[in-house]
């Protein structure tokens, strides 16, 4: 992306120079007035051409009106200091607090294309799977940045490539490195500790052990779990998410159960009740040893800079003993 815009910039400057030279040689009078001597006119033209070339180049290299349909990339943009260049975000953006003042343009399933285009963006970050939206933006000649949702290492990689695309390469590199070292610190801290078999639950029916949806060995949360010193008890299944039956839980006998609750979905007064739901399976080591944890927060849903917080929380929960001091 950056390379292409550099070439464009160079090409624009080259064209401008050629045009200036040609006009100098031609010695034609300008249209605006016969008063200007040919050389002055040529200079004027050259100056305009150079300015325009610079304009194109600058926008290509450093977009000023970015729309981010992906909450993760919104957070990344703020982390690399590009937050003030965001013109619109998705309906599901929650962090940082500044996003509440920004225009909302829909989300993965229902992007509001009209609104989006009316904000006159010069870069739109879309999900790779939003093929219709990509086509519409291509037709409107609006540049796009494609975002794909994968594992933990892809978070920093995306951060870097996004930084390059929006002209904040250095800041993005700094933020990404910071993340990497923080994650490495977590890994080091829990290194050598025995890795408990952990059931990582993304969701279930409130108040019941039904429709349990858990990590199955793939995806960024699974990666975070492994980094934080846990062993995904369903890791051999190699699925992003698994529909877990009570028989599976009894069979796999996890030593720790981590339940993730987003936003306001779990009220404090319900914490005990929800934890006690697991008492129906007393043979599960996690239940027997009181190692069922209900974690609330948004940092688990967004594969962005705050994933470090998620990693630290996992590590503290799995290995309280190394965080005890």
């Amino acid at each position: 992306m950056a390379a292409v815009s550099k070439i464009l910039k160079h090409a624009a400057v080259a064209v401008a120079l050629i045009a200036a030279t040609a006009s100098l040689k031609a010695r034609t009078t300008s249209e605006s007035g016969a008063d200007l001597p040919p050389s002055r006119e040529a200079l004027r033209r050259t100056a305009v051409a150079l300015a325009e070339a610079g304009q194109v180049g600058r926008d290509a290299v450093r977009p000023q009106r970015i729309i981010s349909l992906v909450p993760a990339t919104t957070e990344m943009l703020f982390a690399m200091g590009a937050g003030n260049r965001i013109a619109g975000v998705s309906d599901y953006d929650r962090f940082p607090p500044e996003v509440s003042r920004l225009p909302k343009v829909g989300g993965l399933l229902d992007p509001n294309v009209e609104r989006l285009i009316s904000l006159k963006p010069d870069l739109v970050i879309v999900y790779d799977t939003q093929t219709d939206l990509k086509q519409q933006l291509d037709r409107a000649r609006i540049p796009i940045f494609r975002y794909a949702h994968r594992g933990l290492p892809d978070i920093t990689e995306t951060m870097r490539s996004l930084g390059d695309r929006v002209g904040s390469k250095a800041e993005a590199e700094a933020a990404a490195s910071r993340m990497e070292s923080q994650l490495a610190a977590v890994r080091t801290r829990v290194a050598g500790r025995p890795r408990p078999a952990t059931l990582l639950i993304f969701g279930r029916d409130p108040g019941a052990l039904r429709h349990i949806d858990a990590s199955g060995g793939l995806g960024f949360l699974h990666d975070v779990l492994e980094l934080a010193g846990g062993r995904d008890v369903l890791g051999d299944l190699k699925q992003q998410s698994v529909d877990v039956s009570t028989e599976m839980v009894l069979r796999r006998a996890p030593e720790v159960i981590l339940e993730l609750h987003y936003g306001e979905s779990l009220k404090t007064e319900r914490l005990d009740d929800e934890r006690n739901v697991w008492k129906a399976l007393p043979s599960v080591p996690a239940v027997k040893n009181n190692r069922v944890y209900l974690l609330r927060g948004d940092e688990f849903v967004v594969p962005g800079p705050r994933i470090v917080m998620a990693a630290e929380r996992f590590a503290r929960t799995l290995h309280p003993e190394v965080y005890a001091r």
């Binding site: 409130p206 698994v242 009570t246 599976m248 009894l250 069979r251 043979s283």
Partner: protein, 344 residues
């Protein structure tokens, strides 16, 4: 008077056929209920399950049996028999062999209730039953109320058609509202909605079974009054009335019972496709058209059928499990096509 009658097959008295039907299908259902909890992706031993020397909290086999499998098998039995019975009754009531518990929108009402509970994160419980099944049941009741109201406002002589049209309209309307609610949902909620729609029998506890049993037993009591009446009504409303059947009252009992059974089944396990459509036809192939045989046989066969489908669903791709609705569709779809081709 005593001349031998030329018949293709000697007529066996209905008493004997009924006894035989109850015995054979009853054995099938009972065997399914007793054996299914012992079979699964994890091998367990019956002796271990009932071994008193091991404290329950440590007895994995016992917990698998009592928490993971037995409620599931009982749920399958209850849902399978309720949906099959509702299917028989709707087919007779609407005089349409293609009718099913889904036709009149009761199932859609139940789905809408569940979807609203999931999307708007409703959180309440009553007597051990949580928000989603409760809202689901309320939804089914709402749909029934609309259809019932439409049918009560009907004019004489057009009851079946008005009921069918009204029910299909309600079903379409509710489906549109369901689509709207799904549109409002975010990605996670949509995911949960879709998972719910695939059906799940893993109830993992007994209170939901007891809760479902209440409306189901009311429905079954209603069904018990219907067998002969359904025979007569399916031959013609006028001739049924002329033979002493209170057609309007019987239709109301049929509608309410079948809707209660469907609502409770869908609230318990989500919408499980094809059971209510296929089981009555398969049963009629085996026992004939007499509803006095078809109703009890469908209840028993429906239970065994769903227990079997659930067994396949939870073992075929072990350690993963398939939603039971996929198995009933994979079996039900081709069977249904075969039935259609047979008829034509």
């Amino acid at each position: 008077m005593t001349n031998a009658v030329a018949a293709d097959r000697p007529r066996v008295a209905v008493r004997i056929r009924l006894a035989w039907t109850l015995l054979s299908f009853g054995t099938l259902a009972l065997a399914a209920c007793l054996l299914a909890p012992l079979v699964g992706s994890t091998p367990i031993h019956l002796t271990t399950v009932f071994d008193r020397s091991v404290p329950y909290a440590d007895n994995i086999d016992a917990q698998i049996f009592w928490v993971a499998r037995l409620p599931r098998v009982l749920a399958a039995a209850m849902v399978g028999s309720s949906l099959a019975l509702a299917g028989v009754v709707f087919q007779a009531l609407l005089r349409n062999p293609l009718a099913s518990p889904d036709t009149l929108g009761v199932s859609a009402g139940a789905s809408l209730g569940a979807m609203v509970a999931i999307t708007f994160a409703l959180d309440f419980s009553l007597l051990g039953v949580t928000a989603v099944p409760l809202a689901s049941f309320v939804g089914s009741f709402g749909a029934l109320a609309i259809v019932y109201g439409l049918s009560a406002a009907r004019r004489r002589g057009t009851s079946t058609i008005v009921l069918l049209l009204g029910g299909v309209t309600v079903q379409a309307l509710l489906s549109a509202i369901i689509a709207f609610v799904q549109y409002l949902a975010d990605f996670t909620q949509t995911f949960r909605n879709v998972r719910w729609l695939m059906g799940s029998l893993d109830v993992a506890s007994y209170p939901p079974l007891v809760a479902a049993f209440i409306p189901m037993s009311l429905a079954w009591a209603g069904f018990a009054t219907l067998p002969r009446v359904l025979d007569l009504i399916s031959v013609g409303h006028e001739s049924a009335a002329a033979r002493g059947v209170d057609v309007e009252r019987s239709e109301r009992v049929a509608l309410v019972s079948a809707s209660l059974a469907t609502g409770a089944a869908v609230a318990l396990a989500g919408p499980v496709s094809f059971v209510g459509l296929i089981v009555p036809h398969l049963v009629r192939l085996m026992v004939g058209a007499d509803h006095r045989l078809v109703l009890p046989a469908s209840a028993l066969f429906g239970a065994a059928f769903l227990i079997g489908c659930d067994l396949i669903a939870r073992t075929i791709i072990a350690p993963l499990e398939l939603p039971v609705g996929i198995i009933t569709a994979i079996i039900g779809g081709p069977v249904f096509l075969w039935l259609l081709f047979r008829k034509s």
